[in-house]
């Protein structure tokens, strides 16, 4: 997210003053309302369909249910306390977490704006941010698909929102310590993708593989559904990245261009790898390459030019392809839908590369204070690593905690029968 539209946010101080009365710009507001709709669209139905098509037919509903339920409970918790902790004033501890002053959105009305974004109403700003908080835990679903119990999933997701997503979002976008350092993460390379990606890896390891993995083939049951979801993700990502400009201007346009270019390049790079290695390009390949390109450009999207975006996209498609082979085939970790090698690896790479291609010399936009490239690179690396470490550690603790309260996995019989019948007493298809 572009940090500080109205005036620079350089720490906790400035946030003490909000909300202030100011006239929002109708054009910027129009775009942010739209962008909010687009990012929700990414999760529902976008990501839900993308994931649902990839599992076996007997688990299709369980995945849709997870995405839908996460959207519901995250929204409720965001209104109750999430927004306050992420973007509220944290007082003395503002470097690490926001405060409780905005619990239940206290003080919000139609005229309110956020100090850092006086060009749009605060209601729009917090809605836009809510959609990010929804999609991030929903991404993790891909790791434990086809075996996690519903209740455990629900508990895990709420705790993960509160203890992993919100702190990291605060550090980077809410005026926390990474923001103060000048860490650049335009639309969530660290906050969303590294965060969800590494949590997925940890979850896959803690839960263990699906029964039959890797001997038994587990092909996607409905690739057209996955492609439908992929198309929605691509379109929705315009809201994600270009919306992170928090304005309808040239910066949003440049972000959209970078986003689109990287997606296209990710597609292309992935199918080239497939063509070289397997002799045939595939549909699942091209949509995975697309997601890799989009995830990787996300942190950089507001800072790089089209050339940088092309380079990042090509790298994304190539590196994430090999990472997927490595994690799934070599390490035999059953991160069911490859969340880590695509989002985790892509997000990390993109966050670091933001320090490279986000330089005027390479067609990007130099950091404001004339910081050296090597310094920025260090900051990027630090931020990416801190996110990785925090998310990995806390995810692990949460899973152990949940496991102490309720079993994480369904029984072997339930897994064989399929989660749809076992957990929800419904079947996906009666054709």
């Amino acid at each position: 997210m572009r940090i500080g539209f109205g005036h620079a946010v350089t720490g906790a101080g400035v946030l003490l003053a909000w909300p202030v009365a100011a006239a929002a710009d109708s054009g910027d507001t129009a775009w942010m309302l739209t962008a909010t709709a687009l990012v929700l669209f990414m999760t529902l139905p976008g990501l839900a369909l993308f994931y649902a098509g990839l599992v076996r037919a007997r688990n299709v509903l369980s995945v849709l249910m997870q995405c839908f339920t996460i959207a519901s409970v995250v929204s409720i918790f965001w209104v109750l306390v999430g927004y306050s902790l992420a973007f509220g004033d944290g007082g003395a501890g503002h470097a690490v977490i926001g405060g409780f002053g905005r619990v239940l959105l206290a003080g919000l009305d139609a005229g309110a704006v956020h100090a850092a974004y006086p060009n749009i109403p605060e209601s729009v700003f917090l809605m836009f941010q809510m959609t990010f908080a929804i999609i991030t835990p929903a991404l993790v679903v891909g790791a434990f698909a086809e075996r996690m119990r519903f209740g455990a999933m629900l508990l895990f997701s709420v705790l993960w929102l509160l203890l992993v997503y919100i702190p990291v979002a605060h550090w980077v976008w809410g005026g926390g310590w990474l923001a103060s350092l000048g860490f650049r993460d335009f639309a969530g390379g660290a906050v969303v993708h590294i965060n969800a990606g590494i949590a997925a890896l940890v979850a896959a390891l803690v839960l263990g593989s699906r029964r039959g993995f890797p001997m038994q083939p587990m092909p996607p049951h409905n690739l057209p559904t996955t492609v439908a979801g992929a198309g929605m993700l691509w379109v929705g990502w315009f809201g994600f990245n270009a919306g992170s400009a928090v304005a309808a201007d040239g910066a949003a346009g440049m972000a959209m261009l970078a986003t689109h270019t990287a997606a296209a390049a990710g597609c292309f790079a992935w199918i080239c790898q497939e063509w070289l290695k397997f002799g045939k390009p595939s549909v699942l390949g091209i949509v995975t390459g697309m997601v890799a390109g989009l995830g990787t450009i996300t942190p950089a999207s507001g800072y790089v030019g089209p050339g940088g975006a092309l380079a990042i996209g090509l790298l994304a498609g190539t590196v994430c392809f090999w990472a997927t082979q490595y994690v799934k085939r070599r390490l035999q970790i059953d991160d069911s839908l490859d969340v880590f090698p695509v989002h985790g690896v892509g997000g990390f790479m993109g966050t670091v590369l933001t320090g490279v291609f986000g330089a005027a010399a390479l067609g990007g936009i130099d950091p404001a204070d004339g910081r050296l490239l090597i310094v920025q690179l260090g900051i990027q690396f630090l931020g990416a690593t801190a996110t990785l470490a925090w998310s990995a550690g806390v995810t692990f603790i949460i899973l152990k905690l949940v496991a102490a309260l309720t079993p994480l996995r369904v029984t072997a019989e339930e897994e064989t029968e399929g989660l749809d019948i076992a957990l929800h007493e419904e079947r996906g298809y009666n054709l």
Partner: protein, 112 residues
Amino acid sequence: MKLITAIIKPFRLDDVRNALAEVGVNGMTVTEVKGFGRQRGHTELYRGAEYVVDFLPKAKVEVAVADDLVERAIEAITAAARTGKVGDGKIFVIDLEQALRIRTGEAGDSAL
């Protein structure tokens, strides 16, 4: 009466139906099945997870015929289903003790 069961390549189904009609067989029941045999299946590949699908789509055609029609029916199926390549399929013949038409209760040859 005999029950003839033919496992054939699906895209030959219409030809087989027509060939049977020509020899006077006017009813049949068809099931989509998966066949495993000498014919090689195909490979599928999903994000590098490769696996071989040995089961190939086949159509199973079941026809109950009077004894005097058996030979001609078999010949008709064989001629219509043959492509000459591996996987053309099999024909099985079983003795049929009784046949009934549900609507009328007719039994035997006239039920077919």
